[in-house]
């Protein structure tokens, strides 16, 4: 795909240069060198070269805040994705966070002969060899050791997801040699490796005979729902765990934690951070909120920017994490603090990692202004359920 095809596909030529995209872009607010409007203008006016070698190409969070407001419906995130793949074919890439370790792991998972040992954490979970429902674990077991020091446990989310499914009477199947979904590679422009991963996963899922795949990670969910069908054939329905749980609320029997501990039930205020992949990418705003509201003893308060206006956690695809990303996070955390909530709920492991990182990093400087408990929605539900056991 050359630049002209990309422009045609994403309807870039409809751009009115109104600048709404740049006005709403969380990156542009902190980094004046980055502007979606200027990027599009450059694509339309200039030659390919300048755009591809622009350092800011990899600064976009692909959070869809821009395209959500665009009166001409220009698909800027997909434009970015495609231009990045052009750039990466010419040897350009962003500044990898964690010195590229995570992306390297994802590339290694595309090697055909690997035999992973990724399911050592399953204690207390009931899974079955053969089931119509498959739970896609995602990168959690790999993130676990890497983010140990900031006290994030993605594996705990996976474990709780399976326990909740068990409570609903589902014993999901798991893929012992599951590969990375390829989300991060696709959005950094490495389409070739993404295709390999997609083929491996599609093949394994076909062999397993699953009819439904449950995700607790919004990125994997988006990738399976929107991106995989463009490259591979999938005969099953991807579903996010919050959707599944919201449909089965009556079966969950949720109880407040305080009651169990014998103290007076106090109403705890919580706020919800919409992950961009779940929210603007896929339009899932209500199911997570229904779930939160169904838990007794907590009250959901919304941040200044919530739902389709919510602000991204500041970095995507482990690329171009900078002081700007930290500023976005600090701003978001202060918004969350301003609601008076004690707890920020999110539904994406990466949001949790990024906010925790900002707290560790800026904690000494900003102190209590940014300190806040961050928890995955799955863990919140699992905590409220424990009483019935």
């Amino acid at each position: 795909m050359n630049l002209e095809d990309i422009i045609n596909k994403t309807k870039t030529y409809y751009c009115l240069e109104c600048g709404k995209c740049t006005a709403v872009c969380p990156v542009s607010r902190h980094n004046s060198n980055f502007s979606p409007r200027l990027m599009l203008e450059r694509a339309l006016m200039d030659s390919e070269g300048e755009l591809i070698h622009d350092r800011e190409l990899f600064s976009c969070l692909t959070c869809y805040a821009c395209s959500h407001l665009c009166p001409s419906e220009v698909d800027y995130p997909v434009f970015t994705q495609k231009v990045r793949s052009l750039a990466s074919s010419q040897g350009e890439h962003g500044d990898c966070a964690h010195s590229g370790t995570l992306l390297s792991l994802m590339r290694l998972m595309s090697r055909p002969n690997i035999k992973q040992r990724r399911l050592d954490w399953l204690d207390g979970c009931h899974t079955s060899e053969k089931s119509e429902i498959l739970y896609f674990v995602g990168c959690a077991p790999y993130f676990e050791p890497i983010f140990e020091d900031i006290e994030v446990s993605p594996v705990n989310v996976a474990r709780n997801s399976i326990r909740i499914l068990n409570a609903l009477g589902i014993e999901p199947m798991l893929l012992p040699n599951e590969r990375c979904c390829g989300h991060d590679l696709l959005w950094t422009g490495d389409v070739e490796t993404f295709k390999k991963l997609a083929q491996f996963n599609a093949e394994m899922i076909k062999e397993s005979g699953a009819k439904k795949i449950v995700f607790s990670c919004p990125e994997g969910y988006r990738t399976f729902k929107i991106d995989y069908p463009q490259y591979v054939k999938l005969d099953c329905e991807p579903v996010h765990i919050t959707e599944l749980l919201a449909q089965n609320l009556s079966k969950l029997s949720l109880r407040p934690r305080a009651k169990r501990e014998g103290s007076n039930p106090e109403v705890k205020k919580v706020t919800y951070q919409d992950p961009c992949r779940l929210g603007r990418h896929l339009g899932i705003y209500e199911p997570p909120r229904e779930l939160i509201k169904a838990i007794p003893g907590i009250k959901l308060v919304e941040m200044e920017h919530s739902g389709d206006e919510s602000i991204c956690c500041g970095t995507s695809v482990w690329t171009n994490c900078s002081s700007c990303s930290k500023e976005i996070r600090i701003e978001r955390l202060s918004e969350a603090k301003a609601t008076g909530a004690e707890l920020m709920i999110t539904a994406c492991p990466k949001c949790q990692i990024h906010f925790k990182c900002a707290m560790v990093d800026k904690g000494a400087e900003k102190g209590a202004d940014v300190k806040m408990e961050v928890m995955d929605l799955v863990n919140l539900v699992a905590n409220a359920m424990e009483t019935q056991e």
């Binding site: 964690h98 010195s99 590229g100 370790t101 390297s104 290694l108 090697r111 002969n113 992973q116």
Partner: protein
């Protein structure tokens, strides 16, 4: 033809590289499988370098630093230990055998110890066979 493993060695400038030098000067016989990259400190070895070596087709990665307490930069090698502990967990999940990535302390006056480390590691990896991650015919020395 028997399998000759390709091993990438990251050696710290102050102790281990000098140790390897000493082995050479002393004309000690050593397995020729380790391709050495000199680093200023073992603490400067990013996990990415190790993954990159494996990605590029290395059958093993050897990391050598100063003995604990002897680091030229005081605590570089303590950082190495912490990083390697985490990396080993990740590699284990990826199905990479523990013996393929090894960390050893080799001091500047320990030429014989360096030879011993290299020979033992080469033998370990010969036993394991080629890496499952390996790519075809990409020569690391190129």
């Amino acid at each position: 033809m028997s399998f000759e493993p390709k091993i990438v060695g990251f050696l710290c400038n102050w102790c281990s590289y000098a140790g390897a030098d000493l082995a050479g000067i002393s004309r000690l016989k050593c397995a020729p499988n380790v391709h050495i990259i000199r680093m200023m400190c073992s603490g400067g070895i990013s996990p990415f370098f190790i993954l990159k070596a494996l990605e590029a087709g290395a059958d093993g990665v050897l990391i050598c630093g100063c003995n604990l307490g002897d680091c030229h930069y005081r605590e570089g090698n303590y950082k190495t230990i912490r990083r390697m502990t985490l990396l080993k967990k990740v590699l284990g999940q990826l199905g990479i055998e523990q013996e393929r990535v090894q960390l050893h302390w080799v001091c500047a006056s320990c030429g014989d110890e360096f030879v011993d480390v290299v020979n033992r590691m080469t033998a370990d990896i010969k036993e394991l066979g080629p890496s499952r991650l390996g790519v075809k015919s990409r020569d690391l020395t190129r």
